[in-house]
C-alpha cells in the first residue's frame, strides 16, 4: 500500500487565524458602531452603510476582473472600506456623494497602487477627501442626532435642520455649547460614526486585544494630540477641558482608531509606529489649527501615509544596529540552527 502524500516546505502546522477572521474583526466592530448610529439617526444610517458597501464591493470586483484576476469573495477589505465611509459623513448626505466617494476609494486609492495589502493610501480617507474637495461644505453640515425617526430614508424634498459640529466652533475659537458628558455619549451633531466617543473607545480596546491594531500607534497618537491641546488650547477654556474638547470633537478619535489603525497603510515596526503616531499627532493638530477646513484628519492621514516607507526603513536601520549588537554579545551562546 502506498500513500498519496505530497511534499511541502515547513512549517506543517498553522495558526488557526486566517484572513477572514482578521477582516471579520474589523467588520464586527464597525457593526457595533453602526448600531449606535442607528440609535441616534434612524434607519437612514444603516441604508447608507449598506449602499456604500454594495458600491465598494461592486467596484472591487470590477477592478479585479479588469486585471484578469479571480475575485476573492472572502476578502472583506472592500466591505471594511465601504463601512468606514458613511461613518465619516453626516447622516443627511445624499446617496450619490457616498457612491462617488466609494468608487474613488476603491478604484483610485486601492487597486492602482497594488490592491489588497499593497495600497499606499488609506482608501476610506481618500474617498472622504475626494468628497470634501468636490462637495465642500455640504460634508460638514450635520443634522441633530435625536429623535431617531426624524430623518427619512430617502430625503426627497424633506427639510432637515442642519447644524455645525463642535469642530467648527473650535476652529473659530469659540467654546462648543455641549457639556462634556453629552459629548462623550454622542448626542451632538457630528460625523455619523465619530460622535459615539465611548463606543469608539470600546472598539479600540477590542481591536487592541485581538491584535488587529497594535497598541503603540493609538497611544502615541493620542498622547501627542493631548500634549498639543494642553500646551496650545484653541478656545478660552482650561487646559484639561481643551484636551477633552479636542479629543472628542470631529473625527480625531475615529480616525485615530480606524484610519491610523489600518495595518496596511501604517508602519509595521513598533518603534516606527511610535514615531509615526507622534508625527501624525503633530500634523493633525497643525492641520486643525492652520487649515481652512474644520476637519483636517483625513488629509493629514493621507499625508502621513505617503511617509510610511521612510518610517519603516528608519526603524529597520535602528533595529539592525540593535540586532547585530545582540548577535555579537551572544556569539558563544549562539542560537542552535535546526538540523
Amino acid at each position: 500500500m502506498s500513500l498519496m502524500i505530497e511534499a511541502r516546505p515547513a512549517p506543517h502546522i498553522r495558526h488557526q487565524e486566517n484572513t477572514r477572521t482578521v477582516m471579520l474583526d474589523a467588520v464586527l466592530v464597525l457593526l457595533i458602531v453602526y448600531a449606535m448610529t442607528y440609535f441616534y439617526h434612524g434607519p437612514r444610517a444603516l441604508v447608507l452603510g449598506a449602499w456604500s458597501v454594495a458600491v465598494s464591493v461592486a467596484t472591487d470586483i470590477l477592478c479585479t476582473l479588469i486585471a484578469f484576476k479571480r475575485p476573492n469573495i472572502r476578502d472583506f477589505s472592500a466591505v471594511v472600506t465601504g463601512m468606514l465611509l458613511p461613518l465619516m459623513m453626516p447622516a443627511s448626505i445624499p446617496y450619490s456623494v457616498v457612491a462617488a466617494a466609494a468608487v474613488v476609494a476603491v478604484a483610485v486609492a486601492k487597486h492602482p497602487f497594488g490592491g489588497v495589502g499593497h495600497n499606499v493610501f488609506n482608501p476610506a480617507a481618500t474617498g472622504f477627501c475626494f468628497a470634501a474637495i468636490c462637495f465642500g461644505s455640504a460634508l460638514f453640515e450635520y443634522p441633530e442626532p435625536l429623535p431617531a425617526d426624524k430623518l427619512p430614508v430617502f430625503l426627497g424634498d424633506a427639510q432637515v435642520l442642519l447644524g455645525v459640529s463642535p469642530a467648527f466652533t473650535l476652529e473659530l475659537g469659540g467654546v462648543p455649547k455641549f457639556g462634556l458628558v453629552d459629548m462623550a455619549l454622542g448626542s451632538f451633531p457630528g460625523p455619523m460614526g465619530a460622535t459615539n466617543i465611548l463606543v469608539v473607545l470600546a472598539c479600540l480596546l477590542y481591536l487592541v486585544f485581538r491584535n488587529t491594531v497594535r497598541w503603540e500607534m493609538p497611544v502615541a497618537f493620542f498622547a501627542t494630540v493631548s500634549l498639543f491641546a494642553y500646551c496650545f488650547p484653541r478656545a478660552d477654556v482650561s487646559r484639561l477641558e481643551s484636551v477633552a474638547l479636542e479629543l472628542m470633537s470631529g473625527m480625531l478619535l475615529f480616525g485615530g482608531v480606524f484610519l491610523l489603525g489600518d495595518p496596511v497603510t501604517t508602519p509595521k515596526r513598533d518603534l516606527s509606529k511610535v514615531a509615526f503616531g507622534v508625527a501624525s499627532g503633530v500634523v493633525v493638530m497643525l492641520f486643525r489649527r492652520f487649515g481652512n477646513l474644520e476637519e483636517g484628519m483625513p488629509f493629514a492621514v493621507l499625508l502621513m501615509n505617503a511617509t510610511v516607507w521612510g518610517f519603516d526603513m528608519l526603524g529597520e536601520h535602528v533595529y539592525s544596529v540593535i540586532r547585530r549588537r545582540r548577535s555579537e554579545v551572544f556569539k558563544d551562546q549562539k542560537v542552535q540552527k535546526k538540523a
Partner: protein, 356 residues
C-alpha cells in the same frame, strides 16, 4: 514588541504520547551488535579516555545536532564547566527527548554522570521545556539527584536557553537519547542501533513514543502505530522545521529523525495575497521583518536587503505559522538568508556590502 517578547506560544498537543510508556520496535538482528570492547570492571568509574573510545566504537550520534558524540566529548574533555542534558521538546507533538529522560531515568542519569567524568566537572543540570498545558504527567524537580531547569516562554525555546546561568565558559550539551546510548554502550557494550522517535499527528490512531531500529522505513512505523485516516503529508522531524517526505516506503529512520508525524489537511482556496497585517514581524524571535523580506524576494529585489539582516534567521518557521494568508514567508526568508550569506557577510562575520 518583537525584540522583547521572543517567540510565540504554540499549542503543544503532546498527549497521549507523552504519558505512555516507550514501546520498542526493534530489529533483533541489529540490536545485538556490540562495540567490540571488553567489559569494564566498574563502568561508572571509567576514565575519560576509555569513555571516549567506547563512544567512538558504539558510533553514538547526538540527535540534537547530528554530531558524533565522541567528537563532542573530545572537545569538552577537561574543559567544560557544566554538562547540560538536553530534554527540550519545544515543538508541538514532539516528546522524543523528554520521555526517554523520564522513563529511562537510570540510564539517562548514568550517561550524564559519565559525561561529567569526561568533562571533569560536577556541575550538571537537565533542561526541559515546560509549557503548562495538557500534560498529565508531572515533570519532577529533580531527576536522579540532578536538578531540572525549566525553560519558560514561547517557541523557539532556544532563544530562552541563554537565560540559564551556569557560569561562564564552555558547556557540554548532550541530548537525552545520546546519554542513554552512552550508558548502554559503557555498561552493556551495545552499539547504538536505535533512536527514540515520537509518532503523532491527527492521522495516527495510537500516538506514542517508539524506540525504533535505525533503518526501519517510515511506512513500517506508521503501520505499527496504525493510521486512523489517509494522510496528505507525512513529516520527518518537528512540525515547525521538519521535512515532508515524498515516499514513505523508501524513507528510513535515521539518528536525527525525532518524530514521524502524519497530518491530513483540507485543501483550501489559497488565493490570498499578503494583506500587510504585520503579524510575522511581531512574531519573529530574532526581530527581523519577514513581510518586507518576503515582498523583496517575490520581486527579486535582493540588493536592498542589507539592513534587513536576513542572515540572522534561525529557520524556526514562526513567521509562516502566524501568517493569516498562509503564505510561505519562511521560504522567502531562507532564500534571502542564503543571498545575504553569499553577498553581505564576509568570513569574519562582519556585515557589509561586499564588492561583487
Amino acid at each position: 514588541m518583537a525584540m522583547f517578547t521572543k517567540g510565540i506560544i504554540l499549542e503543544q498537543h503532546k498527549e497521549p504520547a507523552f504519558s505512555k510508556a516507550i514501546v520498542r520496535f526493534v530489529n533483533p538482528q541489529t540490536e545485538s551488535l556490540g562495540t567490540g570492547i571488553s567489559p569494564l570492571e566498574d563502568p561508572m568509574r571509567a576514565e575519560a579516555g576509555e569513555i571516549i573510545e567506547i563512544a567512538k566504537a558504539a558510533r553514538i550520534v547526538d540527535e540534537r545536532d547530528g554530531k558524533m558524540l565522541y567528537r563532542k566529548l573530545l572537545r569538552a574533555q577537561g574543559r567544560a564547566v557544566a554538562v547540560i542534558a538536553d530534554a527540550v521538546d519545544d515543538e508541538p507533538y514532539l516528546s522524543s527527548k523528554i520521555t526517554p529522560m523520564l522513563r529511562c531515568q537510570e540510564a539517562a542519569i548514568g550517561g550524564l554522570r559519565l559525561c561529567m567524568r569526561v568533562a571533569g566537572t560536577n556541575n550538571c543540570l537537565v533542561m526541559v521545556y515546560r509549557m503548562t498545558g495538557d500534560l498529565e504527567t508531572q515533570i519532577p524537580k529533580s531527576i536522579g539527584g540532578v536538578r531540572v531547569v525549566r525553560l519558560w516562554g514561547g517557541y523557539p525555546a532556544e532563544s530562552h536557553a541563554s537565560k540559564i546561568k551556569v557560569g561562564p565558559g564552555r558547556k557540554l550539551t548532550v541530548s537525552a537519547g545520546a546519554l542513554i546510548h552512552l550508558y548502554r554502550a559503557v555498561t552493556e557494550q551495545r552499539r547504538q542501533s536505535t533512536a527514540f522517535i515520537t509518532v503523532a499527528g491527527d492521522c495516527i490512531a495510537n500516538p506514542m513514543n517508539l524506540e525504533v531500529s535505525l533503518g526501519i522505513t517510515v511506512m513500517q512505523v506508521l503501520e505499527r502505530c496504525g493510521m486512523a485516516a489517509e494522510p496528505t503529508h507525512v513529516v520527518c522531524g518537528g512540525p515547525m522545521t521538519g521535512i515532508a517526505i515524498m515516499n514513505a516506503e523508501k524513507t528510513l529512520i535515521t539518528y536525527t529523525t525525532r518524530a514521524v508525524l502524519a497530518f491530513r489537511e483540507n485543501k483550501r482556496d489559497a488565493h490570498y495575497s499578503c494583506i500587510g497585517c504585520g503579524r510575522c514581524e511581531q512574531a519573529c524571535p530574532v526581530g527581523l521583518n519577514p513581510m518586507y523580506i518576503h515582498r523583496f524576494v517575490q520581486n527579486s529585489y535582493y540588493r536592498n536587503l542589507l539592513p534587513f539582516d536576513a542572515h540572522l534567521c534561525t529557520g524556526c518557521g514562526t513567521c509562516s505559522y502566524v501568517c493569516p494568508s498562509k503564505l510561505w514567508v519562511s521560504v522567502s526568508v531562507q532564500k534571502a538568508r542564503q543571498y545575504a550569506l553569499d553577498h553581505f557577510v564576509d568570513p569574519d562575520g562582519e556585515v557589509d556590502e561586499l564588492d561583487d
